[in-house]
């Protein structure tokens, strides 16, 4: 049986890759996918901790994270499409409208 700390280490690696992706990329779609990657890394950590503690609470939390992620992706992609309609260009560097 593989110890849970291996799963947690893998989750840390995936989360860090997601963070780097969010910072490095300019395409909002890929930034969005990197966020999904980070959410998945968090979910994996939840399930691994739940397994370690012998409790199903971690799995219940992951269920809610999945539901929230589905809603978030739908709304986020709608926002990206709306911005694209307005600007015909899609780079996060152009989106400084709300900067103070």
């Amino acid at each position: 049986m593989v110890p849970e700390s291996w799963y947690l280490g893998l989750s840390a690696v995936l989360f860090s890759i997601g963070v780097v992706g969010v910072i490095v990329r300019r395409d909002p779609l890929i930034i969005f996918m990197s966020i999904e990657l980070m959410l998945n890394a968090g979910n994996l950590a939840f399930v691994a901790f739940g397994h370690r503690l012998g409790s199903a609470d971690g799995q219940a939390v992951v269920f809610f994270v999945m539901a929230v992620a589905a809603a978030e992706v739908a709304v986020g992609l709608a926002i990206i499409v709306a911005i694209f309609r307005l600007r015909r260009r899609l780079s996060v560097d152009d989106l400084s409208l709300m900067r103070w």
Partner: protein, 164 residues
């Protein structure tokens, strides 16, 4: 045996995550993300979370990735990142930031999981999570339906064409 499978799958997961971050074409990135989500589903199975493994494939690899692909087809992207990057120096800062974050997380995991053994037997699959969802987490569970409804209405509002 289990360790070998874990290392192989972890390699696939990390490789597909790197592919997602490094590939220029958004469709390639989406397909890499599907691979990554699939391997995470297998990890859920090995951790005894059968329900989450199925939900992962159905919700993430199915529904969410279809949404992403539709958005990619609608937006015809791929031309945003071709020009020279005016903020290249700042973006390269991401690598040390990511390395420091990774070191911190690994240190926390190493310290936090030292010594203590598992508190009890692992929960048995679908029944345990179903019992929790319909007892302790009943209120958040019902709230989730409201959240999904609100998201649906919001998306319809955002995607509607303004008339006049």
């Amino acid at each position: 045996m289990g360790a070998v499978v874990f290392v192989l799958l972890a390699g696939v997961a990390v490789g597909s995550a790197l592919g997602l971050v490094l590939r220029r074409n958004p469709i390639h990135a989406a397909l890499f993300l599907v691979v990554n989500l699939g391997t995470v589903a297998v990890f859920y199975l090995t951790l005894g979370a059968q329900f989450l493994a199925v939900a992962q494939v159905a919700v993430y690899a199915g529904a969410i990735m279809v949404l992403f692909l539709f958005a990619i087809f609608v937006l015809i992207p791929g031309k945003e990142e071709t020009g020279p990057d005016p903020r290249r120096a700042y973006r390269l800062l991401a690598l040390p930031v990511g390395a420091v974050l990774l070191a911190l997380l690994v240190a926390v995991v190493a310290i936090g999981t030292r010594g203590r053994a598992a508190a009890g037997p692992a929960p048995d699959g679908v029944e345990a999570i179903a019992r929790l969802l319909f007892t302790d987490y009943l209120f958040p569970f019902e709230l989730t339906s409201v959240l999904l409804l609100a998201a649906m209405v919001g998306v319809l509002l955002l995607a509607r064409r303004r008339e006049g």
